[in-house]
């Protein structure tokens, strides 16, 4: 059961940041609570102070300014899935948001919470790394931007300082000739493996591709060997296939209850091939 805790309801980032600083390790940011309350109920963590950032106005806003899509930290998976703005400018994000966990989690779980909790099986974390998303952290009066692939540092660990609040995620919609995809394989509540790919093409050549793998290690990471193989490669299935093999071959994966490292490498290869093909197909549509 939940042990007693105090809940704080700040109305500004500055106030939230101060509360977090004051209570240090005794405090946690509380957004959707779908992960936090679970671990607290299980007794795996206990915080005597929860700083509820849902009382800070404006943190759920989703907006596009003609260049950048800005998703407030409190945007729920359901809100992202159903947002007309996201649907128009980043349909892949809407699609992945619609697959997160289960309906109850999607209704209250937030993008910011998902990323900050840094559960290694996060679909959205993997997608953000491949998409080159920018994560904006704030404390009293100052903001800093962190590229998604430098945000995660380990299992349940990120670069966020204890008194920082993730305020928004910034994404650039795919331009002409660029496409993206996310593929995962799940037998249990959490995926066994996930692969996100964003591929930019021009005139029958792959300009560059970004690939991220998730669920198989402590955090989502880029498949740099495979990315190097894609850069400048001809836009043919063989190139995608070889890059997919490199994803599996070079991935750092852990054995766990649900599969051996060998199996996960195999599945990563399969998923990477599917994701790359789908990204390329999507790029062709964007081109057309």
């Amino acid at each position: 059961m939940l042990r007693p805790f105090e809940i704080h309801e700040p109305t500004s980032i500055a106030e939230a940041s101060r509360l977090l600083a004051d209570h240090g390790e005794d405090a946690a940011v509380y957004a959707g609570g779908t992960e936090l309350i679970l671990v607290m109920k299980e007794g795996l963590a206990h915080f005597r102070h929860l700083v509820d950032i849902k009382t800070i106005p404006g943190l759920e806003t989703i907006a596009y300014d003609g260049a950048v899509l800005r998703l407030g930290a409190l945007a729920t998976h359901r809100a992202i899935e159903r947002s007309a703005v996201v649907g128009r400018h980043a349909p892949l994000l809407a699609s992945v948001a619609s697959q997160v966990a289960n309906p109850r989690v999607r209704n209250v779980g937030t993008l910011g919470g998902n990323l900050c909790f840094a559960e290694p099986h996060s679909d959205l974390g993997t997608l953000c790394v491949a998409w080159d998303a920018v994560i904006v952290l704030a404390r009293d009066g100052e903001e800093r931007s962190v590229p998604a692939d430098r945000f995660f540092t380990g299992v349940l660990e990120t670069v966020r300082e204890p008194d920082e609040v993730l305020v928004r995620v910034e994404l650039r919609p795919f331009g002409p000739g660029t496409g993206g995809a996310y593929q995962r394989f799940a037998m249990h509540e959490r995926p066994t493996a996930g692969v996100a790919a964003v591929v930019a093409t021009r005139g029958g050549v792959i300009q560059h591709g970004r690939i991220a793998i998730g669920s198989v290690g402590p955090m989502p990471v880029r498949a740099s060997e495979a990315e190097a193989m894609l850069a400048g490669a001809p836009l043919r299935d063989e190139a995608l296939r070889e890059a997919a093999k490199a994803v599996g071959r070079h991935a750092e994966v852990m054995d766990d209850l649900y599969g051996s490292a060998a199996y996960k490498r195999h599945v990563l290869t399969v998923l990477a091939a599917r994701a790359l093909r789908e990204a390329v197909a999507c790029a062709r549509e964007e081109d057309a």
């Binding site: 299980e42 394989f185 959490r190 209850l257 051996s260 060998a262």
Partner: protein, 761 residues
């Protein structure tokens, strides 16, 4: 007859359950009710050096802290099969999760804080946490000393074998060696079956009250009368001084059979002198009981022209730290091992083995679910070896109705050839198959009914309504609805005038248990007989009133009739008692109709386990998609076809989970996936693309209108059908669950199969 038997009448508890009005044990409130919480062992095997509860006892809101030291005045061991389990750990702990102490406090928070304040000093001891270790020569013993039979062991003589074996079941017929010598083809293999969690939505919940003259227990239990007997024995009071009340139960599946959390809750209430509730969390339920993991070696022989000859089988079932129902599971697995075939010789040994893991007990279709897929995969292998279609091979070899299944037992009471032909057709047998699609069927028998003892009482009230007293527990299976239908038809009253009381040992009469697919068949017969008794009394009164012979009278529409004259039930009662009031009481009982009613002379009926599956295997990921799943509910007579379907579908889906992904993973006795986040219980997302229940009504059961039980068979049939569908694709499955990784290993994609077999210790 009002004609509701055989119809899909709406469940009598539908509205209550849909609106949340239905009351389960956890919903009950009593004045002064305390919250009980349990401190559990973190070690698989350790000596309790010191349990210091002094700090916990001083905490605010704490009313009692129970440890083994509080049980000195009792013989504190229970276990319906073997009395091997202390109410709370005494000098040692034997599994991770074993209760070491329990706290009763004013609220949950105080109870949890108190648990944290208890200090326990353990001295770790060498543990045996897997079958191989437990069976090794010189292995540490889980239990020392002789085995004491429990109140309901029903197992003949208890004989202690060496080491950690708590029960050995053996039978042999015919000359095995010469039969195998006469076999042209023999298939042989080693197999494993995982530990599985039964998952009832309501975890075990008990409220106990220790009164001056009576122990009262409200429990989410399946078998109130057996719980009552064990509590009376433990706490040294007469049976009549223990009252077990069972409100609605939120699913059992065997996890609430026999005695689970009741003794601990009563002992805590005894110490607190206040009513106490202990409600397991899901995580605690998972270490309270589980399905036995198993290793098995089997060989089967046949002639080259396609006749089965001989089967031999050795089965090791991991019953965990306490026997629970392990001996019965071993015997039932042994009985299921031969399958439904005509053997020249058969030899079976099944052992229940202690290990330092959470105790294993009943789970829907135990024994048959363990064994049918193994035997049936060998039948398919033999069919392929002799060049026969597996369905044709079965038609030639399956037992026919009336044939002996085992000497001295009930002959076969079902048309298995008809059943398997139906499921095969339902999965497209013989039609062209797309790539990576395979089809299989499975046939098995499950010894059902447990012991044939049930009683029922029917009370006719002054207004013509009736109250049925029967101790079958309503677990979601629909027993109250089926009984309502039987009473309504037998008495000629509308179902709305029938009320079925919840089980209460002070009020509702004895029933052996709710499990083993027995309630409609056995308690249902008692209900039918109670109705007939009441009907007979009403006719007698009408005969007296009218002075007419019985042959001139009929019962329908809530009245006794002579031609167009009617005497409604209320008027009959008034005439009988000379006032408005009084009641008539009908009684019905079921007891063994031949022999002693022992398991050996049973079963009450053979529950049919027949299924078919069509699967698709992804050669890329190894994922199995079940395209079509069919099972037979061979029920003799479907009292309520919708409930029959629901029972069969539930068992099928659990069978699918047991086959494809369910597994409790232990490392050194620690459950590694001990929550619903990590343990995948089948959900609607796991449903097959198409799902068929084929209801077969041949009127060949021993229950009312020729009915026999349902609800377990599909759980044994589905694994067999899926495993054989995979065999159809060339995948030889030796280990469940068939995870995608195992599929890929079988396909050779990831190298040689790993972790296969290894059954011979």
């Amino acid at each position: 007859m009002s004609g509701v038997v055989g119809t899909a009448m709406r469940r009598v508890d539908a509205a209550e359950k849909a609106t949340g009005a239905a009351r389960f044990t956890g919903d009950l409130a009593l004045p002064g009710l305390l919250c009980g919480k349990v401190l559990r062992s973190p070690f698989p095997h350790a000596r309790l050096v010191r349990v210091d509860t002094s700090a916990a006892e001083r905490m605010p809101g704490v009313r009692a802290v129970l440890t083994g030291g509080d049980l000195a005045d009792l013989d504190p061991y229970y276990g319906h099969a073997i009395k091997d389990r202390p109410i709370v750990a005494l000098e040692r702990v034997r599994f991770i999760g074993e209760p070491v102490a329990a706290v009763a406090a004013d609220d949950e928070a105080a109870a949890e804080e108190a648990l944290r304040a208890i200090t326990v000093e353990y001295e770790e001891l060498p543990a045996v946490t897997v079958l191989g270790e437990a069976l090794a020569a010189g292995a540490p013993r889980v239990h020392e000393g002789p085995l004491r039979p429990g109140l309901f062991h029903g197992l003949g003589d208890l004989r202690r074998e060496e080491g950690n074996i708590c029960y050995h079941y053996h039978f042999a017929r015919g000359d095995l060696e010469s039969a195998f010598a006469a076999s042209d083809v023999v298939v042989e293999g080693e197999y494993t079956f995982p530990a599985v969690y039964q998952y009832a939505m309501e975890p075990h919940t008990v409220i106990a009250q220790w009164g001056e003259s009576e122990i009262t227990v409200w429990a989410s239990c399946q078998h109130p009368y057996l719980v009552r007997a064990e509590l009376a024995d433990l706490f040294r009071v007469p049976l009549s001084a223990v009252r077990v009340i069972v409100p609605y139960v939120g699913g059992g599946f065997g996890s609430k059979s026999y005695t689970k959390m009741e003794p601990l809750t009563v002992a805590l209430a005894r110490k607190a002198r206040r009513p106490v509730r202990i409600a397991n969390s899901i995580e605690e339920a998972m270490v309270t009981t589980r399905r036995h993991n198993m290793r098995c070696w089997m060989r089967t022989g046949a002639t080259r022209d396609g006749a089965v000859v001989a089967r031999q089988c050795r089965i090791w079932l991991d019953t965990g730290a306490y026997a629970d129902n392990g001996p019965r599971v071993a015997a039932t697995a042994g009985d299921a091992a031969p399958g439904a075939y005509r053997w020249r010789a058969v030899g079976v040994d099944a052992w229940a083995v202690y290990t330092h893991t959470p105790p294993a007990g009943s789970y829907r279709a135990f024994g048959a679910a363990h064994m049918a897929w193994i035997g049936e995969s060998q039948i398919d292998a033999l069919a392929r070896r002799v060049g026969l279609d597996p369905l044709e091979f079965r038609r030639r070899n399956l037992l026919r109705p009336g044939e002996e299944v085992r000497p001295g037992g009930k002959p076969l009471d079902a048309d298995l050839v008809g059943d398997v032909t139906k499921v095969a057709a339902a999965v497209g047998w013989g039609t062209p198959k797309p790539p990576f699609v395979g089809r299989g069927v499975g046939v098995g028998l499950l010894a059902a009914g447990a012991q044939p003892v049930s009683t029922a009482v029917l009370r006719l009230q002054a207004d013509g309504t009736v109250v049925l007293l029967v101790s079958t527990t309503e677990l979601g299976q629909g027993a109250r609805t089926a009984f309502t239908q039987i009473v309504a038809d037998e008495l000629g009253v509308p179902p709305s005038r029938v009320r079925v009381a919840g089980a209460d040992t002070q009020v509702t009469p004895f029933d052996r248990s709710t499990g083993a697919s027995r309630s409609t068949t056995l308690a249902g017969t008692a209900v039918q007989r109670a109705s007939a008794d009441l009907r007979g009394q009403l006719l007698e009164i009408a005969k007296r009133v009218w002075g007419l012979p019985l042959s001139a009278l009929t019962v329908r529409d809530g009245a006794v009739w002579h031609e167009t004259d009617a005497l409604p039930f209320p008027e009959l009662l008034a005439r009988h008692f000379g006032m408005v009031g009084g009641e008539l009481i009908g009684r019905g009982e079921v007891r063994p109709e031949r022999g002693s009613g022992s398991y050996a002379e049973g079963p009450v009926f053979w529950e049919v386990c027949v299924g078919g599956a069509e699967v698709h295997v992804s050669p890329e990921t190894g994922q199995i998609r079940v395209r079509r799943l069919a099972s037979v509910a061979d029920v003799g007579k479907a009292i309520n076809p919708q409930l029959v379907e629901a029972q069969d579908e539930g068992a099928s889906l659990q069978g699918l989970g047991n086959t494809l992904f369910e597994e409790m993973i232990f490392e050194n006795g620690q459950l590694m996936n001990g929550s619903l986040l990590d343990y995948h219980v089948p959900t609607t997302a796991d449903l097959p693309d198409a799902f068929h229940t084929i209801i077969v009504e041949n009127g060949d059961g021993p229950g009312p209108y020729g009915a026999k039980g349902v609800g377990e068979g599909a759980l044994a049939a589905v694994p067999a059908a899926i495993v054989n569908a995979l065999a159809d694709l060339g995948l030889e499955i030796r280990d469940l669950p068939v995870t995608p990784e195992r599929v890929l290993r079988c396909l050779g994609v990831l190298g040689a199969p790993a972790g296969t077999g290894g059954a011979a210790p």
